[in-house]
Symmetry: C2
Subunit: 417 residues, 2 copies
């Protein structure tokens, strides 16, 4: 039923990825296009020019999300594909860009083929996915799905005090469309894995089953800044030692509770002297698990440990929640469509959980959603050295094309989600 002889134009996709990466080029292979910055505007302008070149209907919504639409032969809800084109401060060429330009490539390929699909196809570039300039991250998709309102989003400021609303206006991307104006039948996001699993374990395509649950905590530990030579151990209230014990216990949890990953990524001592017991420590803890109940178990065990540690170490430990996202499973029919697409093209495919957050996790709350992962060399991402082999980029684009074709043709299968 689905034509299997259509392929994307790989050279064109890679050439567009390289052209976009030259905007905000950091000179070391990377790119810097912080959301709503001057370089983000230039990247958006280039993307919009391509949408127009391909002849799509272009819409900008009130949070700056950019949508390009190729209508179908019926008024059935379209298949939406996309990701984001903003980057972290020291980003690479593929994170986000691949999902947006891959979607554009799929649409252009189908348009060129002359194929008439019952469902339309659309591409979306969401605003501020990275959260590097404005928090929270995945902001554009949160507004698109109604999880956040414009009224609470516009006043969000960056570290210089500039706000989302003003910056959208300044760069000319405060659009007229209502976020969520397009009601798609399904959402597909092609993305680099940003982790080492595919690269280390034989390559191929990842059929992403969902985004794992995330819990970010900041612990403020208060002890006493004593002399490290003259204070007997029994009189010490060592905030630095308490932080180390939290870090080691979190690592223990990764072995005790299947699927758990843990990281103490930030730490600061006050004072910070060789011979002074740290009196105050601020540290962060990132806990994740694909299963909400298991993450809750890890959080509960950590809370019990911290309570006992306070008494044992003579410190007080405050916890501030920095982020908390439940696990977001993707749609089984959609995951199946990705697997079938990869298999039909002869690519090895494996089901895997996304360790990082993506716009797809918001879209999955309102529409059947799946993601396609391609390998990241050495798992490096958010880094100028981020790299995916051209063959894998082209494979990912063709899987996106095949999955979109199946979904756009087969109204019943898609409705099964």
């Amino acid at each position: 039923m689905t034509p299997t002889n259509i392929r994307i134009n790989g050279d064109r996709l890679i050439s567009r990825l390289m052209a976009l990466a030259r905007i905000g080029d950091t000179g070391d292979g990377g790119a810097r296009r912080l959301a709503l910055s001057d370089t983000d505007k230039l990247g958006r302008d280039l993307f919009v020019s391509w949408l127009k070149d391909v002849g799509l209907d272009v819409h900008i919504d009130k949070i700056g999300n950019i949508v390009g639409i190729l209508p179908g032969s019926t008024d059935a809800a379209p298949i939406l594909m996309g990701s984001h084109i903003d980057t972290v401060g020291s980003g690479g060429k593929y994170d986000g860009a691949l999902g947006v330009l891959g979607a554009l490539e799929v649409i252009e390929t189908i348009k060129e083929s002359g194929l008439k699909l019952p469902r339309g196809l659309a591409v979306i570039a969401f605003t501020n996915e990275e959260g590097a300039r404005f928090q929270p991250d995945i902001l554009g998709s949160c507004v698109w799905t109604g999880d956040m309102t414009l009224a609470e989003t516009y006043p969000i400021t960056d570290s210089d005090g500039k706000c989302v609303g003003d910056e959208l206006d300044r760069i000319g991307y405060l659009g007229a469309a209502e976020p969520g104006f397009l009601k798609p039948r399904a959402y597909l996001e092609l993305h680099i894995e940003q982790g080492p699993v595919l690269d280390q374990e034989g390559g191929g395509i990842g059929a992403v089953t969902g985004v794992q649950a995330i819990s970010w905590s900041e612990y403020s530990i208060v002890g006493e800044p004593n002399h490290a030579g003259t204070t007997p151990m029994k009189y010490r209230r060592n905030a630095g030692l308490a932080a180390a014990r939290i870090t080691v216990f979190a690592d223990d949890l990764t072995r005790a509770i299947p699927g758990t990953v843990a990281n103490g990524g930030v730490i600061a001592f006050e004072p910070s002297n060789v011979n002074v017991v740290p009196g105050r420590v601020v540290m962060t803890l990132d806990l994740r698990n694909p299963d909400d109940a298991r993450l809750a178990d890890a959080e509960a065990r950590m809370a019990t440990f911290v309570a006992a540690l306070q008494r044992e170490a003579g410190v007080t430990i405050g916890r501030r929640e920095l982020a908390n996202f439940p696990a977001q499973p993707f749609d089984p029919t959609m995951i199946g469509a990705v697997e079938r697409a990869a298999q039909s093209l002869g690519y090895p495919v494996r089901r895997m959980v996304s360790g990082a957050g993506h716009d797809a996790q918001m879209m999955a709350t309102v529409v059947p959603t799946a993601m396609i992962f391609v390998p990241s060399v050495k798992g490096i991402s958010h880094n100028p050295a981020e790299h995916t082999e051209p063959a894998d980029i082209i494979a990912g684009g063709n899987v996106l094309l095949a999955a979109a074709l199946e979904l756009a043709h087969d109204l019943d299968a898609a409705a099964g989600g």
Copy 2:
């Protein structure tokens, strides 16, 4: 044999402590007189004026140590007493100053009493004991005892590039006397404990048996800065977790090896992000023990642990030695003289090890030496809140007086060291 009815003038001692603390007054109860700074010069000038008021022979040596001498009735070697008057950046009123002004008070008291002692008495204020501006610390006593030469000391620079030789000259304390020109029979140093033991455990006097051995290490841990969500635990090379495990193991050593104290006082992560595995960590470790062999045991066990940790955690760990001082026991006869002095005055006295370094540890390498500790309220030191009760200051001064009298009279007992 020793007159026991002589007492210091406590008001005069405290009044001089307060007058010195007003030089470099930080407005919060503390003082800042970094070695060889303008405020250190003002403090030195005030001290020298007091030495002259009392009628002592004043000498400045080539490293700026200030000596005031009251000759005895014979040419037997004198009893030297002292400490330092420089402070850390945010220092208190008593650290160092008590030993110097206590010695001056003892000498003035004896001079006023008309007592003729066979041995002379002398007071010394050593240059740059704190090491807050110029490293190493205890610099003046290292030069006095011949452990360091003037040629290696003069070029030492502070963080602004100013050197010891130039700064001595600039403030007018590049003296003519040879360091070590005075050959005392014994050295006594009165000091605040800078720890909580006397304060927490009933007060009284500490008869210090020596300074414990010190080992300072800096560990540079190199792992890999991976994404904390997408990288499976088995692929992580977490430098932050390795640092936490070193910190916890060092704490375990304090229970495994009697007398050990341990502190991880400084730590820095690179990168420093909630969701990035720390790729590079620099941390310090301060290990001490009154017994050299036990400290060596702790160092050896840590080295074994670190070697295993490298393999286990997939990180490389380099160690740089920041400091290493052997234990410095004090002279048994001198310690006995301190105990007898305290007991003769009715003060509780206990033997204790000094957890911090002092000029006395250098003097002990060339002359029979002991130290007298008085309580530090809550063990707070190197801090504007540093406090010792007036009654304890006066008690310490009287113990110094009584011990000096015994040593100055009893030529045989002193020779027993």
